[in-house]
Amino acid sequence: MRLLCAVMLLCFLVIPVEGVAAPEVKSVQANFVQEKNMAILARPLLSRGRFLFQAPASLRWEYFTPLHSILLMDDGKIRKFVKTKDEFVEERSMGLSAMQMVLQEITGWLDGDITDTPTFLAKRVAERKIILTPRKPALSKIISQVELQLLDDSGLMKSVTLYEGEDSFTRMVFSDAVVNLEIAKSSFKGP
């Protein structure tokens, strides 16, 4: 779950393109389509959802299909809900304190400085592509590489691809991104 939070927060990065000043980020919201590819799958799994981020560390990460679930972070608290039989049920089995630690670490990336994290090594391989590799072997067993693709000179994220192994990866493609639009606080409180 620590890794999950780290990867999700990658989506809120607004990374300075060389020679272009990054805007101050107060909030980001966008739709996403997540495509899961695995060796055993005859067809990729598609999920659709929307995320809301409000600086410094409030998040609503919501999948609408195929399974409606919501991950919330607000005021240092992290909660997760899964819709079961027409009602949201809060999951009680998460390592919340660990997630909070990662949150504090990753939110520092919002200023564009993603080279100093103790979790990932970052390398800009093209003007709009950044590759992150885990520093620790234990993490490498779970995720081998993360690829960030920037949208344009705005520095907004176009896609995040998470490689879990040789033939397993998850790609999240974002659309309709809006920056610095006010988001109701209730969005981060519950379903």
Partner: protein
């Protein structure tokens, strides 16, 4: 993480369960070709890819949700457990010769025996038992039952409805129940009836219940 460990331990503990029901007597049994065909058709035919949400609940009330993937393709049975956000926790394949290949198993799903236990559960849900000892009969409620005796001398009773199977009970060599599966709210997809809700119960002091909700069902070419 604790609940994941409990989940794995419970799956592995299914062989040491307290017994609660015994195998019922059946009447009017037939093991002919017609009965064999009826029983076989109560399970999905051909190649399919299913995704389910799987809610695991212990007696104490703790629970967590996974996404389960099942792929039936050319005699192979492939399965995976994912977190609801898509992280792969476990991935394995059972080839047509029954050999199991584990592609990925994060702790605690890397415990010895877990892959075999999970694939056995998945096989029970989606694959008609392969055995020569099969009987189509009726129980005391006048319901049609396909009774299989497996190569491990376990008995599988598959209760039929007009739309595929609705109940599967497994009994051990002492004729006491070890697991039961209940399927309901069937939906017709590509001419086959798929239960939208499945409840798998393992009996015993470390018993547990898995609730599966059908998310997607795709017929593969």
């Amino acid at each position: 993480m604790k609940i994941l460990c409990v989940f794995v331990l419970c799956l592995l503990a299914s062989c040491s369960m307290r017994q609660v029901q015994t195998k019922p007597e059946l009447t009017g049994g037939s093991s002919g070709a017609e009965g064999r065909s009826i029983c076989k058709q109560s399970f999905v035919q051909g190649s399919w890819q299913f995704t389910h949400s799987i809610n695991f609940e212990m007696v104490a009330g703790h629970g967590t949700t996974f996404v389960g993937i099942t792929v039936l393709e050319k005699g192979k049975l492939k399965t995976a457990l994912l977190g609801v956000e898509g992280f792969v926790l476990f991935e394995a394949e059972q080839k047509s010769d029954k050999q199991i290949v584990v592609r990925r198993a994060l702790a605690p799903f890397d415990k010895p025996g877990f892959a075999e236990a999970l694939l056995r559960d998945v096989q029970t849900l989606f694959v008609a038992p392969v055995t020569t000892a099969m009987l189509l009969a009726k129980n005391t409620n006048d319901e049609r039952v396909c009774r299989y005796v497996t190569d491990t001398s376990h008995t599988l009773d598959v209760l039929l409805s007009g739309q595929g199977w609705r109940q599967i009970n497994e009994y051990d060599r002492q004729d006491t129940i070890t697991r039961s599966v209940h399927g309901s709210d069937h939906t017709e997809i590509e001419g086959q009836y798929i239960p939208k809700e499945i409840e798998l119960k393992v009996f015993g002091s470390l018993g547990y219940t898995l609730d599966l909700q059908l998310l997607t069902a795709e017929k593969l070419p």
